[in-house]
């Protein structure tokens, strides 16, 4: 139907058009008028996700499982719903740190580790190998269908035109050449491939239009709309199950999860979504436009699948080729050509971006670190290295495509497209724990990520890759059944006896389990070093950072501007470096020519610039070769930071301590004043006591002297004097006892004999004891006591003393003959109150509080002499307060006074 030459002319013409677009895109970018700086081109470039898998494979999958092809597109839709959190964060981090690939991202996050970067690269290359082989298979199959399908084509045998005979190899080499032309024309400071993005976006339009054209033709041309198509299909018994979840159910959830991971973590998706992103705000549109694109390209998958199944009921045509076979069978040569070009664009888009992304990773994270390790290569001192970089990348592209071809030759021919692709998705999903953990959890360590990635990757190899070799005959088939060395336990499709899952779900479960498990466990068990800690904070808190200015300011190494410039030129070429430097100088407003020593910020700028070309880890090594002295010295920065924080901590503590000290000083001052006061009180007390002691002593002494000196005194005189001596001695004894009691109470060494005491009897006893005193001065004493006993808890002797004190005071202050004293006991519900009233002179208001103080003596209103020892009331108060009660005085001067105290009664009435 289509002559072979036309197919080739069209293919080459299309590729040439792509190249022209890319060239134009690069030119515009160089001129500063980017054609890709809008969200629509960005969205279309993300649509590189739709490869031959989508273009041919979806129909094949739909023909066998109904809606089972959809999770691959629903997953990305869900992930893009969360894009505002996840993607934006990854994009921001990558922009700030000039991340060039997913390997660079992971290595950068975990302390710029070469090992991790290399490992991610290896996993990516091996993991993507099946995916690339899928594209080769799809393109070569589409060639074969066009050229050799006699049943469809009509004209037979035009394939002689193909000199190489091996379409896939031919396609692989062609694509390699194409990718090299596209992606490695020069080394760019920003690592943006604007031309490539423009071409990819164009391809996305082409494949969408081509697929829609075929879909519309099948639905409305071959059949009479959706209704007719589905009605016919529903009439076929074997097709009915495709309209249910029956065949789609198995692995539905797994596929969704896989696709969610793949849309970010496939190296090519990371490349277009993150690395090639020009403006973060473009994401806003892409978040809903990209799912819309997916929706559009999937609308006609089911109609084409059913159309194919209805049109070719005998199963002689591979469902993966329905997109071509249907228009061919309907004799639509131009539509066939368009569909073929669409399939070609889907495949080339994927291969170009994937190989460019992978070659960057191989160069920056695998080869360069190794080369930098060999001192004899003198790479750190050599002249222009950008040629070497380009060489490595070009070699890597060829290598990747040849690996893909090899996998296709070894394995791919026996599998359907989607099955091959899913193996790659499962490999890409291994990056999920390290990246999600890396951007949301500061605790993830380099060792944790290394352990998780390697464990997950090994399980993937064991449960997916090796069995596929075994099934294709490259390993003994016994490896799968009954298991390696006959150990059933280790069967790769039913590891540890986990049977009943499809292969992909089974592998995904085990690999992610050990991956995430090892990542978390090792991270928690270990510790981060300085640079890991810095990077973890920088990544996780990317939205809360002013930038790296602080670190730059702390930088203490020295480097000349000329050295830095020379270093950058070796990797990027003089022109681009000059541009970058003048741009930087303009922005920061200084004269580069006059500036000799680079400051920290410029050094950081150059390191980021280099990181954009050779990756963060290698850039660090290269910078260290130029920077003199302590170098970039992150450890040192950290030390300084630590020191600073220590100093801060010390000063904070000092401040706290001085505050505490001030408080203590204040307390001390207060205590001191109190002490002084007490001291003064003690002095007063002592002087009073001495005075009090001296008075009776003087009196005793003088009367004794009189008795001694006058032996001829009359008997009654003698008796009288002796009585005075006895009284004064008694007073002295009492005083000394009181002082002792008070001291005991104050120091707490008083012994209290607590018992149940009947207050009534206490008062009766006291009254009996004092009745003689009252009689002597002819003071009337009235006693008001209740009939019942009134029991409280206390020390009987002490209580007795209180009553005696109060009574004798009352007696003392009453005028003889007219004095009247009343003692009353009232039993309340909570308290027993004892009041002693007299009709003496009363207590002046100002004295009412002070009379309970030590040695506060009320002077006799008439004689001006003290009338008591000054200790009685003090002791009474101490006793009452000790028993939980209160003592007070009510008095109106001139009308007598009432001294009262009350003691709480025990809670349960004892009587």
């Amino acid at each position: 139907m289509l002559p072979a030459w036309l197919i080739f002319v069209a293919s080459f013409g299309y590729l040439f058009l792509l190249f022209a677009i890319a060239y134009y895109g690069d030119k515009r970018a160089d001129a500063g008028r980017s054609i890709i700086a809008n969200p629509y081109i960005y969205t279309l470039s993300i649509a590189v996700y739709c490869t031959s898998w989508t273009f041919y494979g979806s129909v094949g999958r739909a023909a066998s499982s109904g809606v089972g092809f959809l999770p691959i597109y629903l997953g990305p839709t869900l992930m893009f719903t969360l894009g505002w959190f996840v993607l934006r964060k990854i994009i921001r981090i990558s922009k700030v740190h000039h991340i060039t690939s997913i390997a660079d991202f992971i290595s950068s996050r975990y302390g710029k580790s070469h090992l991790l970067g290399g490992m991610v690269t290896v996993i990516a290359v091996i993991g993507i190998m099946p995916y690339i082989s899928l594209q080769l298979k799809a393109v070569s199959t589409s060639f074969d269908v066009l050229l050799y399908s006699p049943g469809l084509n009509g004209t037979e045998g035009s394939g002689d035109f193909l000199l190489l005979g091996d379409t896939a190899l031919f396609v692989a080499l062609l694509m390699a050449a194409f990718s090299i032309l596209f992606g490695t024309r020069h080394i760019d400071a920003t690592e943006h491939h604007e031309g490539m993005v423009a071409a990819i976006a164009f391809e996305s339009v082409v494949k969408l239009l081509a697929f829609l054209a075929v879909g519309i033709f099948v639905t409305f041309g071959v059949f009479d709309g959706f209704g007719d198509l589905f009605r016919q299909a529903a009439a076929e018994p074997e097709l009915r199950s495709l309209m249910t979840m029956e065949d789609a159910d198995s692995g539905w959830v797994t596929l969704t999860v896989l696709a969610m991971a793949a849309i970010i973590f496939l190296p090519r998706q990371f490349q277009v979504v993150v690395v090639e992103n020009i403006d973060e705000s473009h994401l806003r549109k892409a978040i809903w436009l990209f799912p819309l694109y997916l929706l559009a390209i999937n609308v006609f998958v089911l109609p084409i699948a059913f159309g194919g199944l209805l049109r070719f009921p005998d199963g002689g045509i591979d469902a993966d080729t329905f997109v071509l076979a249907l228009p061919m069978a309907e004799q639509q040569p131009w539509l066939v050509l368009f569909a073929f070009i669409g399939g070609l664009s889907a495949a080339t888009g994927m291969v170009i971006v994937a190989t460019i992304a992978l070659s960057t990773m191989i160069c920056n994270d695998l080869v360069m670190p190794v080369l930098l390790r060999f001192p004899w290569l003198r790479l750190t001192e050599r002249g222009n290295v950008s040629g070497l970089l380009l060489g490595i990348r070009r070699g890597a592209i060829v290598l990747i495509l040849l690996l893909g071809y090899l996998y296709f030759r070894l394995i791919g021919e026996s599998y359907a497209l989607v099955t091959i692709g899913l193996v790659s998705f499962a490999a890409a999903a291994q990056f999920a724990p390290a990246i999600f953990g890396g951007i949301f959890w500061k605790g993830g360590t380099r060792l944790g990520a290394t352990a998780g990635l390697s464990a997950g990757f090994l399980v993937w190899v064991y449960t997916l890759l090796l069995p596929s070799f075994a099934r294709s005959g490259w390993l003994p088939v016994e490896f799968i059944e009954p298991g390696p060395f006959g150990i059933e336990f280790l069967r790769p499709y039913a590891l540890f006896g986990l049977a009943g899952l499809d292969h992909i779900s089974h592998s995904l479960f085990w690999s992610l389990l050990v991956n995430a498990g090892a990542y978390v466990a090792v991270s928690l068990a270990g510790r981060q070093n300085t640079i890991e800690r810095i990077q973890a904070t920088v990544f996780v808190d990317i939205f809360h950072q002013p930038g790296n200015e602080a670190a730059a300011r702390m930088w203490r190494g020295s480097a000349t501007v000329a050295d830095l410039k020379a270093l950058a030129e070796r990797f990027m070429g003089a022109g681009r470096v000059h541009e970058a430097f003048t741009g930087y100088a303009r922005k920061h407003q200084f004269d580069l020519d006059r500036m000799q020593e680079a400051d920290g910020e410029l050094v950081q700028f150059v390191e980021r610039l280099l990181a954009g070309v050779i990756g963060a880890a290698s850039a660090r090594v290269m910078m260290a070769s130029v920077v003199k002295g302590e170098g970039v010295g992150l450890d040192e920065i950290m030390e300084i930071l630590d020191e600073a924080s220590h100093v801060l901590e010390y000063s904070r503590q000092l401040e706290l301590k001085s505050l505490a000290l001030e408080e203590a000083t204040e307390e001390l001052t207060a205590a001191n004043e109190r002490l002084k006061e007490l001291d003064q009180l003690k002095d007063e007390f002592l002087s009073t006591v001495t005075h009090e002691l001296r008075t009776p002593l003087t009196s005793i002494r003088s009367f004794s002297e009189i008795l001694h000196d006058n032996p001829d005194l009359k008997m009654d005189e003698r008796q009288k004097f002796l009585l005075i001596v006895i009284h004064e001695s008694e007073r002295l004894t009492r005083l000394i006892n009181q002082v002792l009691d008070l001291t005991k109470m104050e120091t707490g060494s008083m012994e209290w004999r607590m018992a149940e005491v009947d207050m009534k009897s206490v008062i009766e006893d006291a009254v009996a004891t004092l009745s003689r005193l009252f009689d002597e001065r002819n003071v009337a004493l009235a006693v008001n006591l209740p009939d019942r006993t009134s029991v409280i808890r206390g020390d009987r002797d002490q209580l007795m003393q209180v009553v005696i004190n109060l009574l004798s005071n009352a007696n003392k202050f009453c005028w003889p003959d007219v004095g009247r004293v009343t003692v009353t006991l009232t039993a309340g519900s909570e308290y027993l109150t004892v009041s002693v009233s007299d009709n003496g002179p009363g207590v002046a208001l100002k004295d009412q509080q002070q009379i309970f103080e030590k040695f506060h003596q009320v002077l006799d209103a008439e004689t001006g002499n003290p009338m008591g020892s000054g200790l009685g009331l003090t002791i009474s108060r101490r006793i009452v307060e000790h028993l939980g009660g209160r003592i007070w005085v009510d008095s109106t001067p001139g009308q007598g006074s009432t001294f009262s105290f009350r003691i709480p009664t025990p809670p349960s009435p004892v009587n």
Partner: protein
């Protein structure tokens, strides 16, 4: 991100709705077999594509609503309208 909190919550809610809508328990509800067709299309297909489209529309409305500008401006604008409403 915290300045966006309400929109963030809505985004997460949409994500959860999407996860629920596109997974087995709910899918089974619409899995009515080949004989139940609406507009000539099997119910399962119609549901999947319409739910998909609805999710995209919701996300678009949510993400695009504040034309240009940051969350702070958004918050400021909403506060402004509120104040105006309060005062008017």
């Amino acid at each position: 991100m915290p300045e966006f909190s309400q929109r963030n919550e809505r985004i997460v809610a949409l994500f959860v709705v999407g996860v629920l809508a596109f997974n087995p328990p709910l899918l089974r509800v619409f899995d009515a077999g080949p004989d139940v067709m609406l507009f000539g299309i099997p119910l399962l297909y119609l549901y999947l594509f319409l739910a998909w489209a609805a999710l995209i529309v919701c996300v678009a409305l949510l993400i695009e609503r504040p034309k240009r500008g940051s969350g702070k401006q958004e918050a400021f604008a909403s506060r402004e309208t509120k104040i105006r409403r309060d005062s008017g």
